[in-house]
């Protein structure tokens, strides 16, 4: 009696999770894999094949965009880490009490607005008639209006800004748990600032660094709004290719194939990152 009741409650608790994982994760992805191997021969017949994948490798525009997206995402992730680490260090180790929670809030506040609004915020600053441009003119440093939008730098600025919080949070969490004495022992035994950072702090923070990098990398690789809005028409982000296939060209088969490739790319890079840093997914996410 008792065991059946507890089993029932276990199933009730598991149901939302199972529904979510099956309906929203598993089924759509399986469906997408299926669609990606369909070849349209005529309006009412379907054949199976790898034509869409062949297209990807023969059409240089596809795989170049693919590579470019991967490399720029990696660079964005790295840049986010470099910027987030001092912030996280300050919040976790130096700030105390009230100012600590205030700083944490300050990192969180931008995320109350949608990604769209945040991106438009940057556009207001960077566009030709924007704030930075008019300031530069007012200072007399430039003669005419400067367009700072629609290039790779603008895209990376937007992406770093979007990823920052997701890097800061895991870093703060790991750095918070570090015993102050470890740093002191590092100095006490003869280490300088660089040594203590390299030999003691970074190895300790590695789980946080890797988990932050994974999240930021995935977000960046799969982001759509920021590259489109800040990079302009020619930003050539891979998600735009997928959008074009699905919506503009109504070629679901090709779109699905590109989607599957993106999934494979992100999985491979995350796996390599874990291997290189010597971390396991369980340790990083646990």
């Amino acid at each position: 009696m008792k065991s059946s009741a507890s089993r029932l409650s276990l199933w009730l608790l598991l149901t939302p999770f199972l529904l979510w994982i099956v309906l929203l994760v598993l089924l759509p992805h399986l469906q997408m894999v299926r669609v990606s191997f369909q070849v349209r021969e005529s309006w009412d017949t379907i054949a199976w094949g790898v034509e869409q994948y062949q297209n990807f490798f023969t059409e240089s525009y596809y795989w170049r965009t693919f590579l470019r997206t991967g490399v720029m995402s990696l660079f964005t992730t790295f840049l986010t880490l470099i910027i987030a680490f001092p912030i996280a260090w300050y919040i976790a180790r130096l700030a105390r009490g009230r100012s600590k929670s205030l700083l944490f809030m300050a990192c969180l506040i931008p995320f109350w607005a949608s990604e769209l609004v945040r991106t438009y915020g940057w556009m207001i600053l960077l566009r030709e008639s924007g704030l930075f441009s008019s300031w530069l003119q007012a200072l007399g440093w430039v003669d005419g209006p400067v367009e700072m939008l629609y290039n790779d730098v603008a895209v990376i600025i937007g992406l770093v800004y979007n990823g920052l919080l997701f890097m800061v949070v895991p870093l703060v969490t790991t750095l918070d748990g570090m015993d102050e004495n470890l740093v002191e022992a590092g100095y006490d035994l003869g280490g300088g600032h660089g040594t203590v950072l390299r030999e003691i702090v970074v190895p300790w923070a590695m789980p946080g660094i890797v988990s932050g990098c994974i999240v930021v990398f995935m977000l960046t690789l799969g982001s759509y709004l920021t590259p489109v809005l800040m990079g302009g028409k020619d930003s050539a982000w891979f998600t735009e290719q997928i959008f074009t296939q699905f919506i503009t060209r109504f070629n679901w088969e090709q779109g699905a194939a590109l989607g599957v490739l993106l999934l494979v790319l992100s999985s491979v890079i995350v796996w390599m990152g874990l291997k290189i840093s010597g971390q396991s997914l369980r340790k990083v996410m646990g």
Partner: protein
């Protein structure tokens, strides 16, 4: 002068409160020097000043004749064993010990040799490749020591490193630390709130209270000749009796206890006035159970048995004198008479073994 550590007039203030208040000390080379005090007495602050993690507001720190005030911690010939050891969890035992050598640009082959040697010296040969987390508490303790001793520091600071160990291991490590100190010949500055640790291990002990040293002396002198009532009460077990000072004759003070008994004890120092409140300290082992045969010159106090506490060689009698609890050591050979609770007894002592101080104003 052969002094490894010499401090003069050290002061460290936090706001209006001086955690370290004009402390001067002089530790000869090769000494095991302990700083003993209750928590919050400023001993950790003092140690951090010596290590260089904190700067004194006033005063001088000299280590082997060199002024250290402006030297950062990584350039001082001083290493520290932290309270929770602070072994680097991301490094193996060997890398922990090699960390400091690496900073000194010792070659890999030489590093390996020295790591193996120091591990042998602390009794953990061949454990280089283990993770600190895999070791027992006592082993970790030794790794922390080895990590410092391999650098051959002038001064080793120890911040209550035995606090986290269980009782049995602590007793064992106490003895071992003392032997290691003799073996390496390094000067140890050890802080603790546990008087037994300080007594067993040290050559000299400084008793610290409210940022100042009450007394600096070898352990036995602290025990037998406490300089202040605080030291008398803090170091070892002691019975504290209070009364009014009646007379002083040949360094012997006569005190009228609150229950009316007239007793005697040695006056140590300070100006005492006849009639003022005074406190007499007498150790449990100096108290003799006296049925009726009180020798001449002994002081006697009436008490009522409350209970006997059997603890092997450390068995004690708990008795009441008025509202005050008094402890007396029971004879170790079991020759003590049966003492049913409630029975009246006399407790006698040799006045030369008791210490009298003027009562401190609370």
């Amino acid at each position: 002068m052969d002094s490894d550590l010499f401090c003069e007039g050290l002061v460290r203030r936090f706001g209006a409160n001086a955690a370290v208040d004009h402390i001067s000390l002089d530790v000869p080379a090769g000494t095991f020097f302990s700083i003993l005090g209750p928590s919050g007495c400023g001993k950790t602050t003092l140690l951090r000043l010596l290590a260089g993690f904190d700067k004194p507001d006033e005063g001088e720190i000299h280590i082997r004749g060199q002024r250290m005030n402006d030297v950062p911690p990584n350039r001082r010939p001083v290493n520290m064993v932290f309270q929770h050891l602070a072994l680097f969890p991301t490094m193996s035992v060997g890398d922990n010990i090699g960390y400091g050598l690496k900073r000194r640009k010792v070659t890999l082959a030489e590093r390996r040799k020295r790591i193996a040697r120091v591990l042998e010296q602390v009794g953990l040969p061949g454990l280089e490749n283990r993770d600190p987390q895999e070791l027992s508490g006592g082993q970790r303790q030794r790794v922390a020591l080895a990590r410092c001793l391999v650098l051959e520091p002038t001064l080793l600071l120890l911040d209550e490193p035995l606090g986290a160990l269980d009782l049995k291991l602590r007793e064992q490590m106490k003895v071992e630390l003392k032997h290691l100190q003799k073996q390496f010949g390094t000067t140890f500055v050890y802080i603790t709130h546990d008087q037994s640790e300080a007594m067993v291990m040290s050559d000299r002990v400084a008793v610290m209270r409210d940022g100042r040293f009450d007394q600096v002396a070898p352990p036995e002198e602290l025990y037998r000749e406490p300089a202040t009532p605080f030291v008398a009460g803090f170091v070892g077990d002691n019975n504290r009796l209070s009364g009014a000072l009646v007379a002083i004759r040949d360094n012997l003070a006569e005190i009228r206890l609150d229950d009316g008994a007239l007793v005697q004890g040695r006056v140590v120092a300070g100006e005492l006035e006849i009639g003022q409140r005074a406190e007499l300290f007498i150790r449990p082992e100096s108290l003799v159970l006296s049925a009726d045969r009180v020798g001449p010159g002994l002081s006697v106090m009436e008490a009522k048995v409350r209970t006997t506490l059997f603890d092997g060689a450390n068995s004690r009698l708990e008795a009441e004198n008025g509202s005050r609890l008094v402890y007396a050591r029971l004879p170790q050979d079991g020759s003590a008479p049966r003492l049913p609770p409630g029975s009246a007894i006399g407790l006698a002592w040799d006045p030369a073994l008791a210490r009298v101080f003027g009562a401190e104003n609370p």
